[in-house]
């Protein structure tokens, strides 16, 4: 039978970053399992944006540290292609007095943590994106170091670097059970093989709840479909990501030239559906036609859906658990791609028993034992 020092469930961006960081610290015999082909899940379906403009201190810190890594990822991972890191900023639109007040608070918090966000007037925002509909917003916040990364290529960079360090990958291997002996992890069983191990990482994205259930842990997360569309390649017309929580839109032109946009569906069911709906296309088209009429003149060529894995406070769970040897990295609430670098670093510290960064204790799953005390993130589309 196969033996592994650790089995990571899920070869999405979180599992890849964790595998790379563990291997870099010298761990041997790391196995990563994925139930489908390379990047079948949420990573490849994400909106490809990376931002630091959050409303909670924890999310701000995770995002800032991740952007630091992204800025030199090509060199650090010795990648032969380019991850297409573009810092065109995020321009977040406010549409009401209440939102203006909240944004003022957000900017103060972000600035105090070293994130260079500015609160802009309407005219200042229009200088950055001249074809914004001036009647669709009141003020805006802008952070010039936010931006875009190609999720496929960022993942491949981690994947190849991890392989070079000896990490073993098995695709088309669906985990069916995790066997405990005396309360400790003993074995992982997939539809194709069995692996003896004493450590398992749950980085299964939209299926993290189900993997937790295999060792008797009820992780307080659920999954829901979030849809996206992409246009054909257009001439350069949109430098930053334009986003509005109240209008329910994010929209960015990627270096390839195509424009991606998404919005949430407040009526989405809690399940694993990733299908495309006409309702999304209809509402998305109306929203973008209102805010960015020039963008709405482009042809949409494809729509798809992907799973957000959501926690009660919209902040991730990066922690150990009450089952010895079972570690969790899930519940990114739509932001797992942009938090991947810090995810790998922190979970590696936890697994190796190293001293943990002070802020990271707040990422433990135990915080949901007292729901009155949680610090909920509101800046989410």
């Amino acid at each position: 039978m196969n033996r592994a020092e650790i089995v990571i469930v899920g070869a999405g961006i979180s599992g890849l970053s964790i595998a790379y960081n563990l291997a870099k610290k010298g761990m041997k015999n790391i196995v990563v399992l994925d139930k489908s082909h390379f990047l079948a899940g949420a990573t490849a379906r994400c909106g490809a944006g990376v931002r630091q403009q959050w409303a909670t201190e924890l999310n701000c810190i995770l995002a800032r540290k991740s952007i630091e890594f992204f800025s030199h990822a090509n060199e650090t991972l010795n990648y032969h292609r380019d991850i297409e890191f573009k810092q065109g900023g995020y321009l977040i639109l406010s549409t009401s007095k209440e939102e203006d007040i909240q944004f003022e608070k957000n900017v103060k918090l972000q600035n105090s943590l070293g994130i260079p966000t500015k609160h802009l007037t309407k005219d200042e925002a229009l200088k950055i994106v001249p074809h914004l509909n001036p009647d669709s917003f009141t003020t805006a916040t802008f952070c010039e170091t936010d931006g875009h990364i190609n999720p496929f290529l960022m993942s491949e960079a981690y994947y190849l670097a991890a392989q070079k360090l000896g990490v073993e990958f098995h695709f088309f291997n669906e985990v069916e059970d995790i066997v405990l002996e005396d309360g400790k992890i003993a074995k992982v069983i997939t539809d194709k093989m069995e692996i003896q191990t004493n450590k398992v990482v749950d980085a299964a994205g939209g299926y993290a709840q189900e993997i937790g259930g295999m060792v008797g842990i009820d992780i307080p997360v659920y999954s829901e479909n979030h849809e996206i569309l992409v246009t054909e390649r257009a001439t350069q017309m949109l430098e930053p990501m334009v986003m509005s929580f109240s209008k329910n839109i994010y929209c960015q032109q990627v270096p390839h030239g195509s424009i991606m946009m998404g919005r949430n569906n407040p009526n989405a069911l809690h399940n694993h559906d990733v299908s495309s709906s006409w309702r999304f296309l209809d509402k998305m088209a109306k929203t973008v036609n209102h805010i960015l009429p020039e963008v709405a003149k482009q042809r949409v060529i494809r729509t798809w859906g992907g799973l957000y894995n959501i926690t009660p406070d919209f902040q991730p769970i990066i922690s150990d658990s009450n089952v010895k040897g079972f570690y969790i990295a899930c519940g990114y609430s739509g932001h797992g791609f942009m938090f991947a670098p810090i995810t790998g670093e922190l979970l590696t510290e936890i697994i190796l028993g190293e001293p943990l960064e002070y802020y990271a204790k707040a990422l433990h799953m135990d915080r949901f034992n007292d729901m009155d005390k949680i610090d909920k993130e509101h800046s989410v589309v």
């Binding site: 082909h37 390379f38 990047l39 079948a40 490849a44 496929f152 290529l153 491949e156 246009t231 054909e232 390649r233 390839h256 495309s276 296309l281 209809d282 998305m284 088209a285 109306k286 973008v288 036609n289 209102h290 009429p293 963008v295 709405a296 003149k297 482009q298 042809r299 949409v300 060529i301 494809r302 729509t303 798809w304």
Partner: protein, 92 residues
């Protein structure tokens, strides 16, 4: 003719050499190759390249092309101007 000059995906400018390099790197199914090279992600959505890529995958893996899955077909079937959708059904 050089494999560099044989274009498999015209929308995203992917050559036969690119496909063979991806196969050599271990990407052995259409969806994986699509993620690395963008085949099938342009305006035609794989209508010209899908079967060419499928045949290359089959040849490499020494299997019958009929057993090779191509990419998932996604809406829309052809490009539509967003503004037309936005203005088509004002009273929903």
């Amino acid at each position: 003719m050089s494999k560099r000059d044989i274009i498999i995906c015209r929308c995203e400018d992917v050559s036969l050499a690119d496909i063979h390099e991806a196969l050599d790197m271990g990407y052995r199914d259409f969806e994986s190759i699509k993620r690395i090279l963008r085949v099938g992600m342009g305006p035609c959505q794989g209508q010209s390249c899908a079967h060419l890529v499928k045949n290359e995958i089959a040849r490499y893996n020494k299997v019958n092309p009929e057993t090779v899955k191509i990419h998932k077909t996604r809406p829309l079937i052809s490009g539509v101007v967003l503004k037309d959708i936005a203005e088509s059904d004002e009273d929903e």
